[in-house]
Amino acid sequence: MPTFTSRNYFNSAQEHLGLTAQLIRQQQYFASHYFAGLAVEEILRALSVKEGDSFDSSHSIEFWARKANVLPKGSDERQDELRVTLDEINRRWRAHQRYFTAKMLDTYLESTQLDKIRGDRVKYSSKRLFELAAEVVGLGVEKWQSNNKSKQS
């Protein structure tokens, strides 16, 4: 089994966020939905795992968010924005959705009552999840770089 390091997750989060954007352009909304959530899990893992840690098979956003220490320093407002973002991601995305059909994902999203829309819920949610993921990955990348700069100096 390969070893997954913090740097691996840091790279894969950005790669998968880019893939998400590409899939949206190609109107592959089911796949983009999955990869957006995966990118979030990966950036949270990047901030959480330490050298020598064994692989943790949890895919829960809740679990990794609490491990990652990702809250920005500063005002309550800034921290609350991230809390809201991760709460919503956690409600939209589950790793086991990769086994869903598009219809199952649509039914799941309907049950969450997150989007008061008519029409294609998977399309809407994949675009929304991409925006949310971009915010978290962007913040995580900054934090990861800052953590690693301070380790080197």
Partner: protein, 85 residues
């Protein structure tokens, strides 16, 4: 009373019939967890988080509130679904 217990007590008292699971993370030393409450049904994440943090900031000191990382929100149905994931 430890802050984890204070948070649990506040949430379970002020959100009727809610269940809060709050703990301190050994790695980050921050306090967080989840709250499961039927009253969250129909609320978006902004309203849910505003509700719980308004309650906590009113009843905790600034330093205690700064000790909190994330408290994720679920209705009982959402929590049940999450557990099967």
């Amino acid at each position: 009373m430890a802050i984890e217990q204070q948070i649990k007590a506040i949430l379970e008292r002020d959100l009727p019939e809610a269940r809060a699971e709050i703990a301190r993370d050994a790695d980050t030393d921050k306090v967080g967890g989840r709250v499961i409450w039927k009253g969250f049904a129909g609320y978006n994440s902004l309203r849910r988080q505003n509700r719980i943090f308004a309650l906590l900031r009113r009843q905790l000191s600034i330093a205690e509130a700064k000790d909190i990382s994330f408290i994720f929100t679920y209705t009982p149905e959402e929590y049940e679904q999450m557990q099967t994931a």
